[in-house]
């Protein structure tokens, strides 16, 4: 078994986006998710001496984050003085009233399983991005996730378009391989 050691100086580059996606799937609010990720890193740092190296670094951080998410829900619920189940009126229909009936699961709907699978897919992709060389990961995220145009990225990173496309090519090729291994053949 390999010995796991913590490298807090690399946490943000390696795990911030992964943790952020994990959180946003649970709290549905980018600002809150950002704060929770931040708190997780700080809590991780504080309890770093308790890290026994049994779990991989990311798994260990996720365990801390899970508690943070639960704490967050406890806090928001106690503010209102009672536990609350949030159920938003469906925005996809224009019908009114009778909404409880409409919320009953449609046995033929694949919406829920799709949503869960997409969440997992997002995490798998981020785990693969985290393995890329730093600059490739940055260029790929700017282009693919933040959807910035080539010119803006080139200006911001002070590279020329052919550099950019070389990095995109390498990143995409590595990602295809990584996803083939981790997503299509788990």
């Amino acid at each position: 078994m390999t010995e796991h050691v913590l490298h807090p100086e690399k946490w943000i580059d390696s795990y911030a986006d992964y943790l952020f996606n994990y959180t946003i799937g649970r709290v549905n609010d980018a600002e809150i998710a950002k704060d929770l990720v931040q708190e997780t890193f700080l809590a991780g740092l504080k309890s770093a001496k308790n890290y026994k190296g049994e779990a991989a670094e990311r798994t260990w951080l996720i365990a801390i984050l899970k508690r943070k998410v639960i704490d967050h829900y406890r806090k928001t619920n106690s503010k209102k003085g009672r536990a609350e189940v949030r159920m938003d009126y469906s925005v996809h229909t224009d019908s009114q009233g009778d909404w409880l009936e409409e919320q009953i699961a449609d046995p033929f709907s694949s919406f829920e399983t799709d949503a869960i699978e997409n969440k997992e897919l997002g995490l798998a992709i981020h785990a693969c991005i985290a393995k890329l060389p730093k600059k490739q990961a940055l260029v790929f995220s700017m282009k693919t996730i933040q959807e910035m145009d080539t010119e803006t990225i080139c200006n911001e990173l002070d590279i020329n378009p052919s550099n950019l496309w070389v990095m995109i090519h390498r990143a995409r090729t590595t990602l295809m391989g990584c996803l083939n291994q981790n997503w299509f053949k788990p």
């Binding site: 946490w11 952020f20 996606n21 890193f41 997002g122 996730i145 080539t150």
Partner: protein
Amino acid sequence: MMISCKKAALICNKVQYREATFLERLKLKFHLFVCKNCPEFSRQNSRLTSLCQQADLRSLSETDKKKMKEILKEEF
């Protein structure tokens, strides 16, 4: 009309971000028709694009990450 596999890959990547011109796409189509290896790359590349769209990826901005790094550094 003939382009190298390297050039084809470049155009194929541009296609993923809708940045290939009409002429480039035409050249790529032709290349994919005659080349043995590139169609597989092209297929996987498009699949990666659709997976990324399907996953609704989010990431923190560089400024947010920088801020986090500073806060973490202070504590470290």
